[in-house]
Assembly symmetry: D2
Homo-oligomer: 352 residues x 4
C-alpha cells in the first residue's frame, strides 16, 4: 500500500454526483477529489461551498485539460456518459462511470472496445460501471454462501427493485430519457442475475408485461410504472424480475437465489433502522425511502474499492462487458414490454 | 339455526380424505359423518378404527344407494371426481369436491352444467370445489383490506406455492396424474388471483417458463419442478406466479396484492410456530412442512362453513364456475410452460 | 378409546365460561355439555339461545344435584371457585377449575388436600387448574427443545404478560377482586417459570417494583398497572417477569428460556395473522387484542386433553399443587410490589 | 465551518484504540491523527504499519509534550483513563475518553471537577466519555419519537446487553479489572436509561440478582455471567436491565421504551446483515458477533461529531457528569448483585 492518494475529478454534480463527491472527498482516505465539473451553475455553487479545496469547472474537457488527474468519476447526464468516458479513456485515466454507459448498446460496446485498445497502452487502466449492489455487504455475503455450493447450483433467481411513489412529477419527466423501467430500475437486478447465475449464462427466452397504474404520463413515452419479466437461460435456470415505481412505504429491493437444496435471500424484511413502533395501529417499521438509504454503505465501499483498485492495480470488481450486457438485456426486456412479444434465442447464436 | 346435523358421506380416505373425515367428524358440530367409502382396504380399516359409529363402504355408489345422506365430500382420486360429483348432484345431494373437478376442462364444464340443471329441481343444492385458502383467516383479512379500497385498486398480484422437496420418489409418481405443476401447485394462486383481481377479469396474455432442477423423472412427463408465469389482464392488471417442488425448509406460500397506494401481503415471513431458537448458527425459525400445517384451520373453517351453507341455504363461499376457470388457466399455463409460447387473447373473445 | 362421551356441567358463563361452553360443546368431540349454570339471567339466556340441547341452571348445587355429570368446568367468579370445586370433588366429579383456585392460598391448599383425600375413594378422579399456556403448541415445542438438553440447562427465564390498555373502566373495577397484577397477569408467567425451571426449584429471593401510569384508580387498592419482578432460585437460576395493563397495540406475551448454550424464545414477534400492510406509514402488522386471540387454540386443546384425561384415566397435564404454588408466588410478588421489600428465603425452610 | 483539521493524539491501541485510530484517521475528514501512543510494542508496530504519516510513542506524556495537539482520544487501560484525561485537561486539550473514566467514582468525580475548573481558562474545551449508543442512528430515532410525546411519557425502560459467549478464557481474565458485569456490560443500558428517563431522574431503589452459568472462574472475583436488575425512580418510572456473557448466536442488545400510549423498541430482531438462509433447519439469520459489528457506524459518527464539536465549539452530545452518574449506578447494582440487598434511596438525599 502506497501513501499516494488517487487524484480524482468528478463529472456531474446532480444527486449521484454530489454523493460520489462527498464519498470520495470525505470517506475515501486514499482518494483526493482535486476537481469537479458541472454545466449547472447551482451545482457548481454547491461544490464551492461544500467541497473545500476542490476546483470547480463548468466544462468537463477543460477540467481534463487543466488538472493533473489519475481518475475520473462520471455521474453526469446519461447522454454524455459515453463521450466523457471515451475522452478519459483516451487520456489513460481510470474511470468509474455511472450506469448506463449509454442508452445505445452499440455506443456502449464501442466504449468497451476503446477501453480494450487503451489497455494495450495503459495496462493498469481501470474502467468500471457503477453497480452499487455488487458492493453491498449483504449481497456479497449471499454470493459467498451460494458460491460455497452447500445448497447446490442456483436454479431460480428472483429480484425486484421497487421504488417509492413520486408524486412530484419528477419521475415522469425523468422517465423520458431513462431508457424505460427495465433499464432504469431493473438494471441492478439484471446485473445481479448475471452475477449469481453466471456472467456467461446464455439466454434462451425473455418476455415482459407491465401496466401504467399511477403515472398516466408514461403512456406517451410507452413506458410502464410496474412491470414483470421472466428470463430463461440455457442450462436450466430461470429468472423473475419485478420493477415498480409505485411503492407506498419506501424503496423495496429484494433478491432470492433459490438453489437446489436451499436458498439465500436478501432484504426480504426491509427496514430503515432498528426501530419498531407499537401503537394503536399495530407494530410498525419504516422502510428506506430511496436506494441511497439502503445502499449508502455500498456506495462508500464502491468509492473505496475503486480507489484501491486503481492505486494497487488489482482486478476490477465488476467487468465492463458485464455492465454492457446488463444494459442490452434491460433494453430487450423493455422492447418485449412494449411489443408484448416473447423473444426466443438460439443457443449457438445468442446476441444477448 | 336448526338443531339438525348435516348427514355427510365422504368419498376417498387418502391424505385429504382422512383430513376431511376427521374435520367433519370431530370439529364440525353441525355435521355428522354417516358413512365413508374407499376402494382401498387399508383406508377402510383406518376408518373403522378411527371414525366411531361411521359405516364404511368399498363402493361409492353403494354408499349413495344405502345411506340417507344430505351431502357428499369427494376426496377420492382425481380421475373419479367428476363422475362421483355428477352422481351426487343427480341425487340432489350437496357436494364439496376436492380440486380439480376434472383434469379435462370440458368434463369440468359439464359438471357445472349438470349442477345448473339440477338447481332447477333442487334450488337449495350446494356444489363447491375445495379451495382452502379462501377460508384462511389471513387471506380473508387481506381481501377485506383490499376491498375497503384505502389503497386504490389492485394492480400487481404476486403469489407462490412452493412445496417442501420430496426425496421419497412419491412426488414424481404422483406428478404423472396431477396435471402438471401449474394445475397441481399454482391452482390455489390462480384461484386467489381471480378472487383478488376480479372473477370477471379478462386475460390478455399468459406465458410460463420452468426448469427441472431436482426431479429428473419429470422429463418423461414434460413437467417441471420450478416454474414462473406471468398473466396479463385487460384493464391494467398483471400477475406473477411462482411454483416450486424444491423448497429446503418447508412449504412457502406467499401472496402480495400490490395496489396503487399500498399493498397487502400474506405470509411473507412464514413460521410453523411462535418459537425462535438462538444457537451458534444464528436465529432460526421453522416453517410449516406441508400446506396442511399452514392451512389446518382453513380446512376446518371450510368444513364448518360448507356445513352451515347447506343447512342454512346461504350463498356458496366459492363459485363452481370460478374453480373451473382456475383449472382452465392452470392448464393453459402448463401448455405454455411446455411449448415456450406466450399466448395472447382477444379481449372480446377470451376463452379463459 | 371408548365411544362414551364425557358428560360435563359448566359453572359460570362470563367471558371464560362462554368460551369453555363453546369449546366443549362444539369442538370437543368426546365431551358432551349436559348442563350449564350461572346466577346471571342474561348469561342463562345466552346459554339457552346458543347451547342447543343443554339444560340451564341458576344454581350450581341444583345442577350438581339434578344432573348425571362426570365432570365440572368451573369458570365462575373467583370467590366461589374453591367452594364449587370442593363440592364437585366431594361428588367424585372430575374438575377443571379456572385459575386461581382461590385468592386465599390456605383455602387453595385445602382444596388440594380435599382432592388428595378424595383420590383414595375415586382413584381416577382428575382435578386441574386451567393454565392455558401449558396447552399452547409453541410453548410445548419450546419445552421439548429445552428438555432435549442440546442447549444445556436453563439459566435465565424471562416472561411477560402485557395486556392491551382498557379505557372503559372495566379493568380498574375488575382489579378490585383480581388479587393484584402479579396474581392476575403474571400468574401464567409464574406457572411457565415453574414448568421450565423445575416444579421443585427452590426460591432464594424475590422482589418487585411497579408504577401506576394510566389507571389512577389503582392507587386506592394498592395495585399497579406496570410491574417488574425478579426471582432468584437456589441452584443458579434467575427469572425476570414483566406485566402491564397499558399496551397500545395489543396483547404481548413473550417468554425467553435462556440456556447455557442457546436459547428458546416464544412469540418475540407477535402478530394477529399472516398479514402485513405496506402503506405510507411503513410496514405494519397487527397484534392479538386479547389473550383469547393468541391462545384460542390452546383453550381448545385444553378442553380436548382434559376430556381425554378423564375418559382414559391418563396423567393430568398440570398438577394441582403446582397451580397453588404459582398462586402463592404471585401473592408474594404482589406483597413485595406494595411493600418495596425484597424477600429472602432460607433454602431448607422455603415456604414458597 | 473552517478548513482546519483537528489535530488528534490517540492513547491506547488495543481493540478500541485501533478502532478509534482508524475511524479518526480514515473516516473523519475534519480530523487528522497526528500521533498515537501505547506502552505495547506490538501495538506500536501495528500503528507504524497501518497509520501512515502518524508518529508513534511508547509514552503518553512524551506524546503530549512533543506534539502540537488539539485533542486526545483515550482508549488505554481503564486504570490510566483518569490520570491521562487529567493530564490532557490540564493542557487545555479536548478529550474523548473511553468509558469508564475510572473504576473509582470519587476519582471520576475529581476528573469532572478538574474539567469544570479548566473551563474557566479554556471555555471552549470539550471533555466527553465515549458512549457509542448515543450516536447510533436507531437510538436517536427512538429518542426523537419518544421526545415528540405522541405516546405520552416513558414509564417502563427495559434494556439489555448480552454478549456472545467467549470460550477462550479472555473474558474471565478481563473481568478481573472490568468492574463487574453491570459496570462492563450494562453501563450502556444505564446511560440510555438516564437519557430516556431523564438525566435528573432520582432513583428510589435498585437491586440485582445474578448467576454464574458458564464461567466458573468468576466465582473467585465475585462476578456473575448473567444478571438482572430493577431500578425504581421517583416520579413513577421503572427500569429493567439484563446483562449476559453467554449468548450463543451473537451480541444481542435491545431496548424498549414503553410509554403511556405506545412504545418504541430498538433492535428487537437483531441481524448481522440483510441475508436469510432457508435450508433444512428452517429460516435463519445471523447476529452481529460483537458490539463493534452492531455499532460500527455509531463509532464513526461519534468520531465525526466529537471532531465537529471541538472545531465548531458546539454543545457536547453527552455530558461528562451523566457518564459518571452511570458509572455510580453500575457500581451500586454490582454491589447489590453481590450482597443480594435491595437499596432504597431517600428522595431528598439521593446520592446516585
Amino acid at each position: 500500500m502506497t501513501g499516494q492518494r488517487l487524484r480524482i475529478g468528478i463529472a456531474g454534480l446532480g444527486r449521484m454526483g454530489k454523493r460520489h463527491a462527498i464519498n470520495f472527498h470525505t470517506l475515501t482516505h486514499r482518494a483526493m477529489v482535486v476537481a469537479v465539473t458541472s454545466p449547472d451553475q447551482d451545482e457548481c455553487k454547491w461544490a464551492t461551498e461544500n467541497l473545500e479545496g476542490v476546483r470547480v469547472y463548468l466544462d468537463y474537457e477543460e477540467m481534463l485539460a487543466k488538472e493533473d488527474l489519475q481518475a475520473v468519476v462520471i455521474a453526469s447526464a446519461t447522454a454524455v456518459h459515453a463521450v466523457q468516458t471515451l475522452s478519459a479513456i483516451e487520456k489513460g485515466y481510470h474511470v468509474l462511470c455511472e450506469k448506463p454507459l449509454s442508452q445505445d448498446v452499440a455506443v456502449a460496446h464501442s466504449v468497451v472496445d476503446a477501453y480494450k485498445r487503451s489497455l494495450r497502452i495503459h495496462p493498469k487502466q481501470k474502467v468500471m460501471c457503477g453497480f452499487s449492489r455488487r458492493f453491498d455487504a449483504s449481497y456479497r455475503e449471499a454470493y459467498k454462501k451460494v458460491e460455497q455450493g452447500d445448497y447446490g447450483r442456483p436454479v431460480v433467481f428472483r429480484s425486484q427493485t421497487a421504488d417509492l411513489h413520486d408524486s412530484s412529477g419528477f419521475f415522469v419527466n425523468y422517465a423520458k430519457t431513462s431508457g424505460g423501467i427495465f433499464v432504469d430500475c431493473s438494471i441492478h437486478d439484471i446485473d445481479l442475475m448475471l452475477w449469481f447465475l453466471g456472467e456467461n449464462s446464455k439466454i434462451k427466452s425473455l418476455q415482459a408485461v407491465g401496466v401504467i397504474a399511477v403515472h398516466p404520463g408514461l403512456e406517451a413515452i410507452k413506458d410502464r410504472d410496474n412491470a414483470i419479466a421472466t428470463v430463461e437461460f440455457y442450462g436450466g435456470r430461470i429468472a423473475n424480475l419485478y420493477c415498480s415505481r409505485m411503492m407506498a412505504a419506501g424503496q423495496e429491493d429484494t433478491t432470492e437465489i433459490i438453489c437446489q437444496r436451499g436458498s439465500v435471500r436478501v432484504n426480504m424484511e426491509g427496514r430503515k433502522s432498528h426501530v419498531d413502533v407499537h401503537d394503536s395501529l399495530g407494530v410498525r417499521r419504516e422502510l428506506p425511502q430511496h436506494s441511497f438509504d439502503r445502499f449508502r454503505e455500498a456506495f462508500v465501499t464502491e468509492a473505496r474499492e475503486f480507489t484501491s483498485c486503481c492505486l494497487d492495480n488489482t482486478t476490477l470488481p465488476v467487468k465492463l462487458e458485464s455492465s454492457v450486457r446488463a444494459l442490452a438485456i434491460g433494453q430487450a426486456l423493455q422492447r418485449s414490454l412494449v411489443s408484448g412479444e416473447k423473444v426466443i434465442f438460439d443457443e449457438l447464436n445468442a446476441k444477448l
